[in-house]
Structure formats: structure tokens, C-alpha cells
């Protein structure tokens, strides 16, 4: 069979693909441009001597008949175009300009011709919003953290920090939600807060529940929290002066290094310069858990600040149920391990359920044929089907 009569060669020609790499047939098929319609317009069956030429030769009786080579006006537009496309890479005498250009391309060793559109620069669009990049007005600043803190340590640090802050404000008789103006404390201030302990006096009272490690810390914190809502910069400055230098700093550096390694968040955000809570990984006391949240104002302030620090959202029914800091922690930790939605997952998670007499777990969905097999009638059914020629 002549080459042109063969089935359309749908593979990309060797010249179009990289020679270094082996490319499988499937990929070659994908890489090749769609077969040209002009194929259908090819008048000649083969490249050697077209039938019209042969007829002409026969009519004239010579191998070089006079007149036009092709009495039908030569190749059509599509034919010419297609031929050029086919033969261009193989041509040995292209124009000087194109040669120079090709040289320039071939000089660049890193250049690899693209085989698919993916990753190529997009040129031109219809001007819809999705064609344009986001503008400055599209920047969104959320009140709470854009990522949700999930580690129990971070959550307890946040709860402890919130508890200390709010009980301080309680003691100072200042509006509780003012604390939300301070998105993040300076590290020395945070260290002071972390060193404080919470010991509610009776039934989870917030007033003067903070136990300071020393007088200096108390004075510094009271001074800083007096400023909240006013000049915070001054407070930060003072804090840096007052902050006691301890051996903790060395420990902190280690912690930070460790933290950087296993920073895990639900949604990773590339712009997270520092680990949360400056890399601290433990809370000194658990007294804050006993604080009561029955007072709506305190509850509101606590949940607002806590969600600002951790990025957690508290729906209204949950807020209604919460009556202490302990409940908040329970809810937030339960969110990390949601109850499995599928019964199978639920059963797999609990070994005691698997041993129940009416529970069986199979790897595959059970069909009537499985029951046949279990009851020993599958062989009979198979044999009968075979006998009747149905299998």
C-alpha cells in the first residue's frame, strides 16, 4: 500500500519532539497537532507520479509531455500549506533569516519545545475578572487568624493568654473587648503573660484571679494593660525594658527551631514568618480551665479574643452551651477529631463494637452471590449455569 493511502499517521513526527527522551506512543499521539483537513484534498495517490501525470504521458506518448506539468492549475491552497508544514523541518535550504532565528534558538540549550499548552504564557483574554489578577481592593483581612490552630498546645496557650488578659482587665475595671485591639503581643509581654498563673478564688470568679510570679511582672502588666486602648507602643517599649532575661531565652531558640520543623496547620499559608506564640510549647498551669463563663459579657469577650488568636469559629448553639473555659477547650479539641460520618469508619475505630455478635465487617460489598457461597449453593448454581451454556 502506498504511504499516502495508509491510515493517517497520528503520531507526532520525530522532529517535533525531544530526541533525548523516550516518549511513549500515547504521549506522541497527544502531542501531535490535529490531522490537517487538507489531507482529504490531496489529489495524488502517491508522492512519485500522480495519476494525471501518468495519463498525460500516455496521451502524448512521451515521458516529458509538453504544456503545464499539472493541467489542473497546480496544488490548491490547503495542499500547499499542508505540504509546507510537513516539509519545513526537513528542508535543507530555508531562508537566511529563519536560519539565523533557528540558530539562536538552538544555541539556548535549556530551550525545550512545549508539547502541551500547560505552563505557557497566556496571551490575550476577553477581559473578564478571572482573566485579570486580583487588585489591592481584593485583599481580605479577617478579624481572626486565617489559619486555624489545631495543636492542643497552641490552643491551651491561647486560652491561657486570653484568661490572663481578661482577668487583668476585670481587675482594672476596663472594657474587656479592648484587648482585641492588640492582635499580637510583643514577645516580652507575651512572656510576662505566660509566666502568670490563674487561680480563681471562688466559683470561677475572674476578679484578681491572676497570680503573678513577682512584683515586677505585676507592675509591668498592670502598666501595659492600663495603656490598652491608648498608646500601645509605649507599653511595648516599657515591656522590653522590664522583661527579665532568663535562661529561658536559650531554651526558646531551641523550641523555635523545633517548631519550624513541624509547623502543622490545617491550611498552610506561605506568609507565616513566625511560629504561633513565639514557639512556646507548654502552659504552666491549668487553673484557667476553672474560670466561669456564665456572665455573657465575659463569655463574649473570651470567645472573641480566643477566636482572634486561634481562628476558630463558635456557632451560637455552642456559645449557649459553654459555661466555662474547660467547655471551650473541649469543643475546640473535639473539632479536631470529628465523629466519623460513615458507619464503617465508626465501627473500624471502635474495637468493642466489632466484637458485637450482630456486627460483621467485610472488605467488599456483600451481594447475593456471597450468600450463595456461604450457604454452599454457589457451586451448584455455577454448574447449572455452565450446563445450560449461560456462563
Amino acid at each position: 500500500m502506498r504511504s499516502s493511502l495508509r491510515l493517517l499517521n497520528l503520531e507526532a513526527p520525530a522532529s517535533q519532539r525531544s530526541r533525548n527522551l523516550y516518549v511513549c506512543s500515547v504521549c506522541r499521539h497527544e502531542a501531535r497537532p490535529r490531522p490537517f483537513v487538507a489531507r482529504q484534498f490531496l489529489r495524488h495517490a502517491s508522492d512519485s507520479t500522480p495519476i494525471t501525470e501518468r495519463v498525460r504521458r500516455k496521451l502524448w506518448g512521451t515521458d516529458n509531455p509538453p504544456g503545464l506539468k499539472d493541467p489542473y492549475g497546480g496544488e490548491g491552497v490547503f495542499e500547499r500549506k499542508f505540504k509546507r508544514g510537513q516539509s519545513a523541518p526537513q528542508e535543507n535550504e530555508p531562508e537566511a533569516a529563519t536560519e539565523a532565528a533557528e540558530d539562536a534558538v538552538s544555541e539556548d540549550s535549556s530551550y525545550e519545545p512545549a508539547t502541551t499548552w500547560e505552563g505557557l504564557q497566556r496571551v490575550g483574554h476577553l477581559g473578564t475578572w478571572s482573566d485579570l489578577p486580583p487588585t489591592k481592593a481584593d485583599a481580605y483581612t479577617s478579624f481572626s487568624l486565617n489559619r486555624r490552630l489545631t495543636k492542643p498546645v497552641h490552643l491551651s496557650l491561647a486560652a491561657h493568654q486570653t484568661a490572663v488578659e481578661l482577668s487583668l482587665l476585670h481587675t482594672l475595671k476596663k472594657p474587656l473587648t479592648n484587648i482585641c485591639d492588640v492582635i499580637e503581643h510583643e514577645q516580652p509581654v507575651f512572656k510576662l503573660i505566660r509566666n502568670c498563673k490563674i487561680q480563681p478564688k471562688s466559683s470561677g470568679q475572674w476578679d484578681s484571679a491572676v497570680v503573678y510570679p513577682d512584683k515586677e511582672t505585676e507592675e509591668a502588666l498592670v502598666y501595659i494593660f492600663e495603656q490598652i486602648g491608648g498608646a500601645q507602643e509605649a507599653a511595648a517599649e516599657v515591656a522590653t525594658e522590664v522583661a527579665p532575661e532568663t535562661a529561658e531565652d536559650a531554651e526558646l531558640a531551641e523550641i523555635e527551631a523545633a517548631e519550624a520543623e513541624d509547623a502543622e496547620f490545617e491550611e498552610e499559608v506561605p506568609t507565616t514568618p513566625s511560629p504561633p506564640f513565639f514557639g512556646y510549647r507548654d502552659v504552666k498551669d491549668k487553673g484557667y480551665l476553672d474560670l466561669s463563663l456564665n456572665d455573657p459579657i465575659t463569655k463574649f469577650a473570651f470567645l472573641k479574643r480566643f477566636s482572634q488568636l486561634t481562628g476558630h469559629f463558635f456557632p451560637d448553639p455552642v456559645i449557649h452551651q459553654i459555661s466555662s473555659v474547660q467547655h471551650v477547650m473541649k469543643h475546640v479539641l473535639a473539632e479536631q477529631n470529628p465523629k466519623p460520618k460513615k458507619l464503617a469508619d465508626f465501627l473500624v475505630a471502635d474495637a468493642s463494637l466489632q466484637s458485637l455478635p450482630n456486627v460483621k465487617i467485610f472488605a467488599k460489598k456483600q451481594k447475593p452471590s456471597h450468600k450463595d457461597e456461604e450457604l454452599g449453593r454457589k457451586k451448584l448454581i455455577d454448574a447449572e449455569l455452565r450446563e445450560r451454556g449461560l456462563v
Partner: protein
């Protein structure tokens, strides 16, 4: 004279007091009864009041947020018969069906043989042609003839008692509230003038309101074309309605409702006919 006066006044007293001076027993009975009943009644009443206060439905506490930062603003209170109604699926079903019926266009229309244009001439003679007898060309068995039993424009709307429909609204909102899927916005839902749908996408992504979390419906008081266009561009994540276009079905459709407080208050007050007794008017 003075003795006569005193006698007269005594007579007057005895005539008018009716039992005050009618006997010792009566006097004691009259005096003793109110004292004892008063003390027991007050104690009973106070106990009753205490119980009632204990059992009295407490108002629902809901948090309001500021849009778009989603900063909690305050706690607001709603009566329990507005945002804590018990779930009644049957009422919700009736309301949704009622709305569906109401929105049916009911404009399907066909022509019966009388309505089809043309002459009512008999197509061929009754006898002698060798063919079956025929009447006119409008007959429903002929091509181009009228349609027998075809649809005609009609009103599909069904009825539902207004009080029941109002309950359905509050039940739908309560259901959302109880599942933590009602987010109340304290201010107006709006975006900056030069913001594009990217902003809506980002807000939905950060707050987890998008398609992965079951889509969300925004309900506003005012229909701002800019906001509505932007949200409709990201329709796979969000749906936006002004409060006048909301139905019970819309309240139940997506994963959560993000409503302006004004819109919520308005909807609740408009749909409280069953709990707001209408005062009789003097005619």
C-alpha cells in the same frame, strides 16, 4: 342632746356597716379571714412567680458579626418563639409545596377544535366517496386539528393558613440557628467599590463558607448591583438574595445563611402574625 346624737350615729353605723356591728362572730370572721388568706396567698403567689420565672422561656442569645472582617460585635437577644421554634418538618414541607405551587406559571395552553382557525366545511360528502365519514378539519383526530384534553392556562396556587406559613418561616430560621448555620451581620453586607469577585472568593475561603462547606446564602436588606454581580460570578460558592426575594425554600437550601440583622428582624416581624395578636378595631 349629745346622747341623742351618739345614738343616731350608732344607728347609722348599724344600718350601713352590714355585719360590722351585727355580732361578735361575724366581726371576728370578717377580720380573721383576710389576714390568714392574705399571708398564705402572698406566699403561694411568690412561689408561683418564682416557678414561672424559673420556667419562663429564656431569650435566645445570638452573636452578631461585622462584615467582611467577621469580627464578633455583640450578643443580641431574640425571643425563643422566633429563633428557637421546635422543628416541624410537616409545616416546612407544606410551606415549600405552597411556595412551589405559587411560583408555577401555569401558562401552558392548547387550542380546542373551536379555537382552531379555519372553515367548518364538511371535508367530503357523508356517503358515496368510499372513505370513512368525516366532519371538519378541526376535529381532534386530524392533523392540524384541535387538541383534546390539552392544557389551558390555570392557577396552580394552593392555600396555606397565613399563621402556619409564618410559623414555617420562623421554624426554618430556628432550624438554621440551632444548627449554628445562621450568621447574623451587624452592619450592611457590602464590598468596596473597586473590588472584584476575587474578594468574595477569598472571604468565602477564609471563613469556610464555600462549596466544600455546602455553599452559603447571603441575605441583604438593600439590593446593591455591584455586590450582587460579584457574588453571582462565584455562584458555585455563594448565592445572594435581597430580603424581599427570600422564600422558606431559600432558607433551607444552602449550607448556611449569612443575614444582615436588619433583614432578619424584618423577616421575623413580618412573619409573626400567629404570635402577635391583632387588636380588635372599633367600627
Amino acid at each position: 342632746m349629745a346622747g341623742l346624737n351618739a345614738l343616731n350615729s350608732f344607728k347609722w353605723l348599724s344600718r350601713n356597716s352590714r355585719g360590722l356591728l351585727s355580732g361578735a362572730e361575724a366581726t371576728t370572721r370578717y377580720l380573721s379571714r383576710p389576714i390568714s388568706t392574705e399571708t398564705s396567698a402572698t406566699s403561694e403567689q411568690s412561689a408561683r412567680e418564682a416557678l414561672l420565672a424559673k420556667w419562663a422561656p429564656k431569650p435566645v442569645l445570638a452573636t452578631t458579626y461585622s462584615f467582611p472582617s467577621m469580627e464578633p460585635v455583640r450578643f443580641v437577644q431574640y425571643p425563643e418563639n422566633k429563633l428557637l421554634m421546635p422543628l416541624r418538618k410537616d409545616i416546612l414541607h407544606r410551606a415549600v409545596v405552597y411556595e412551589g405551587d405559587m411560583t408555577r406559571q401555569g401558562t401552558a395552553s392548547t387550542k380546542w377544535r373551536d379555537d382552531v382557525r379555519g372553515s367548518h366545511r364538511k371535508l367530503r360528502a357523508q356517503k358515496g366517496s368510499g372513505h370513512a365519514r368525516v366532519g371538519d378539519r378541526q376535529s381532534p383526530i386530524r392533523r392540524g386539528g384541535g387538541v383534546a384534553f390539552g392544557p389551558h392556562p390555570r392557577d396552580f396556587s394552593s392555600g396555606l393558613p397565613a399563621k402556619m406559613y409564618d410559623q414555617a418561616w420562623r421554624i426554618a430560621l430556628s432550624y438554621r440557628f440551632r444548627r449554628g448555620q445562621l450568621i447574623i451581620i451587624d452592619n450592611e453586607i457590602d464590598i468596596p467599590e473597586d473590588a472584584s469577585p476575587y474578594l468574595i472568593e477569598e472571604i468565602f475561603k477564609v471563613n469556610r463558607w464555600g462549596r466544600e462547606y455546602g455553599r452559603s446564602t447571603l441575605i441583604t436588606t438593600r439590593e446593591s448591583p455591584r455586590l450582587f454581580d460579584a457574588v453571582n460570578e462565584v455562584g458555585k460558592h455563594a448565592k445572594i438574595l435581597s430580603k424581599d426575594d427570600v422564600d422558606v425554600k431559600d432558607l433551607l437550601e444552602t449550607g448556611r445563611l449569612i443575614m444582615e440583622k436588619r433583614a432578619l428582624d424584618r423577616l421575623l416581624s413580618e412573619h409573626s402574625r400567629d404570635i402577635k395578636p391583632r387588636l380588635a378595631k372599633a367600627t
